[in-house]
Amino acid sequence: MKNWPLWEVFIRSKNGLEHRHCGSLHASDATMALENARDVYTRRMEGVSIWVVPSAQITASNPEDSAELFEPAKDKAYRHPTFYELPDELKHM
């Protein structure tokens, strides 16, 4: 018989905040993954909502591609408000 698959767990700590990845666990199906996530990751009121996602369903970027993915943003300072020097007298901007 095959082993229980791995699931990634995401918890929303309170309404108004996003779900954040907090770890992973093994479970035979989604229902059990939710129950286990509740027991493993929310024993002290850490969450009000849980997502579980089969780890195999996640496509991740490769660190080897980091340069081409993320470096182009480095030399685009004009995308930030501080790039535009304006007189100090100017208000509300």
Binding site: M1, N3, L6, G23, S24, S28, D29, R43, R44
Partner: protein
Amino acid sequence: MSEKEVKNLEEIFDAKIARDEKIEPKDWMPEKYRQTHIRQISQHAHSEIVGMLPEGNWITRAPTLKRKVALLAKIQDEAGHGLYLYSACETLGVTREELYEQLHSGKAKYSSIFNYPTLTWADMGAIGWLVDGAAIINQVPLCSTSFGPYARAMVRVCKEESFHQRQGFQIMMTLANGTPEQKEMAQDALNRWWFPSLMMLGPTDDASVHTEQSMKWKLKRKSNDDLRQQFVDQTVPQADMIGLTIPDPTLKFNEDTKHYEFGDLDWDEFWQVVKGHGPCNKERISARVNAWEKGKWVRDAAMAYAEKQESKKLNVAV
């Protein structure tokens, strides 16, 4: 990859760690870094899981309902800590089943302390106070270790561990303030757990084979002897406070260094226990193997059920 390329990658890798940048699972890492982390993280996870056994012994005999729910919560935390750590370890490309197999076959180690028996209720106090106290000293520096998943797991573990130590100390304090028999029971537990707790922090620096490399990788931030000194310095005044005596006649405070000096530890005993000849090694491993093997039909049934539900869903979709 050529040797030169590997060397180049290693230099980039070492520089990253020196800059306090974290290493994440998909990043390139030297094979030795990967193997050392699998060994240490899994050993840590196994210790959490095996660590539940000596305490499980007392759940049904806890003296009050309050003590019972606290002990249950502590043991449940330990299961949780084991799971955080196994998950962190699996990001390095090893499977849960392989890790269990290493524990069950005796290939992987776990903390030597859990091979001692829990003879009285006071042992629940001594374990929380001393064993969890020593564990915290060991674990706090690991919150800033270089491997991201391990560091994140340790942050969670450390947040939860403090309650373990406090509930243990409270048990000892209550017994120490109780009847003469209760106080004697607390003292007896301290007598039996003191030296194993000191040795739990690992061999002396001159006998520790992994320290230097582990320091470089920030997998270790203080040496075993430094951690042990810190543990003694903080624990002795706590024992004084509740009127218990540390079972070391040579123990004395050095006014110049502001540290306690303590007697030699029985390292022969430590290595005997590590090598499998402690009082409870066989019992602990057989309890784990038993639970795993006897639980197989449950795991299989859950998987069969999941597959059946999945195929039903597909049939409806068609």
